[in-house]
Symmetry: C2
Subunit: 284 residues, 2 copies
């Protein structure tokens, strides 16, 4: 069977237990699954506890990211590859699913190029940040994942990547999941977070856009607010890499993966057999 | 070639860079290597930074261990599977060695039984500690390691184990390395720390015992002080599991693994072809 790649967000309110239960059920039913997780709330909590300031970088285009200076990198690695990854692995093991936790630095699973100089806007002025350890993803090692899947293991992946100078780099989890889904030619990429999907009228959850064909991704990108922009971008990258179906769905419901597969959330697909959602409109 | 299992301690003063360089050189020369690492100094530093008190448990027989209550467990997991493991993996990757970091919870690599009630001595009185997450090792998954080694990866292992209730457990790194060496039928287990080996007259480093045949392990155990007792115990377990040679050696020299293999440190061997070190004596 072609694998599913499932991304579970690291934000506050995300329920890892229900996602783990659905992953274990899928694997038990014979579906190979790769689980990619976020880490933001855990990294913020550990940073606060350790007295490391959490700072955001705002790009000139308005994109917000974590300022990962060397001190924050140590916290980020501890939270991502340590706390969240091993909590998820132990949770899955407790459900009988033989999970193996990895980060992108392991086995060159995710290679990235460090953004050595980042333009950031602060108090209306641009400055160049040179102490950041964030990476632009380059490639994924699908062979390592295929070997683990073939041997019956379920890979659980923390959003770190290996830089070209062997740096450990913070990378975006949604786009990492898209790259991995492409490398495995997964049939579905399911991105779960603490929103129901793409909202036409953010934050009105009743304004969910149920379907976006690939041809209307530009319109979807225009609707997306904040973190959702990265998810739509990840969906586009997955489709371009040959993944036919991406679902953006809610992690806060009782069976989040099963609910998404049953049709909930925003389905972003290669094919246009669905009627286009009227909310995508023509006024954009 | 039969693999080497190398354990590098996590104490202050241990030089990870030189160990990583030796591991990369061995792998480059065609020797399969599994590297197991400690975590004590990194866990202490993160705990101090996060304001989590570092407490020791002293057993009635005088053995000292880290009190790993739920709060300390989160720190321990973060430091072991996050910080130290990924630092070593990235270091090896920078040397061209395709390392994969795992902890014992991953793929059921190390299974253990939680010590749910531990007798500890405090101010001369015994009490029972029930909130500790330390484990007694039961088994290692050699298949997972063999699969990774056969595919050209170098496993790097953090000293955590999976408990019978899917708990994450703190386990002794030396004994974990011995269990792994046995499961792989390694030809050598090399245990590096910030002492030259077993000392007949601790802490006099000139009193190094150069050879202990298996038949004299009881005498060696009587000589061993503090942490060295665990290393001699690990050596015994490795020999019992079929590993013919265990070397206890110094991590602080320029080429620690090569120096150990050239004959430095304390060699604990199945065979008695060496003259028994006079320091083991007959007065014990």
């Amino acid at each position: 069977m072609t694998p599913f790649v499932i991304k579970v967000g690291g934000g506050a309110g995300v329920n890892l237990e229900t996602v783990a239960a659905d992953v274990a059920a899928l694997v038990e039913a014979g579906r190979p699954v790769v689980l990619v997780h976020g880490t933001s709330a855990a990294a913020d909590a550990l940073a606060e506890r350790a007295g490391v300031p959490v700072r955001q970088l705002v790009s000139p285009s308005g994109h917000v990211s974590r300022h990962t200076n060397p001190e924050m990198l140590e916290i980020y690695v501890a939270a991502a590859a340590g706390q969240v990854n091993k909590r998820l692995v132990a949770m899955l093991q407790g459900l009988g699913c033989n999970a193996v936790g990895l980060s992108g630095v392991d086995g060159r699973l995710l290679l990235a190029r460090r953004k050595a100089a980042i333009r950031a806007v602060e108090n209306g002025r641009q400055r160049v940040v040179r102490d950041d350890y964030t990476g632009k993803l380059l490639s994924a090692n699908g062979d390592l994942l295929r070997m683990l899947l073939a041997a019956g293991y379920t890979p659980v992946i923390a959003p770190l990547a290996l830089g070209q100078q062997a740096e450990r780099l913070n990378v975006d989890g949604d786009r990492a999941a898209a790259l991995i889904a492409g490398s495995l030619q997964a049939s579905h990429l399911i991105i779960l977070s603490n929103v129901p999907g793409l909202l036409a009228d953010f934050p009105d959850e009743a304004s969910l856009v149920s379907h976006v064909p690939r041809s209307q991704l530009d319109q979807a990108m225009n609707l997306a607010q904040g973190r959702m922009k990265k998810k739509v971008l990840a969906a586009r990258e997955a489709l371009e890499a040959g993944v036919p179906t991406v679902i953006l769905a809610d992690s806060r419901v009782p069976q989040p993966v099963q609910t998404a597969l049953a049709g909930a959330g925003t389905w972003i697909t290669e094919m246009s057999e669905f009627a286009t959602d009227a909310r995508l409109g023509s006024n954009m």
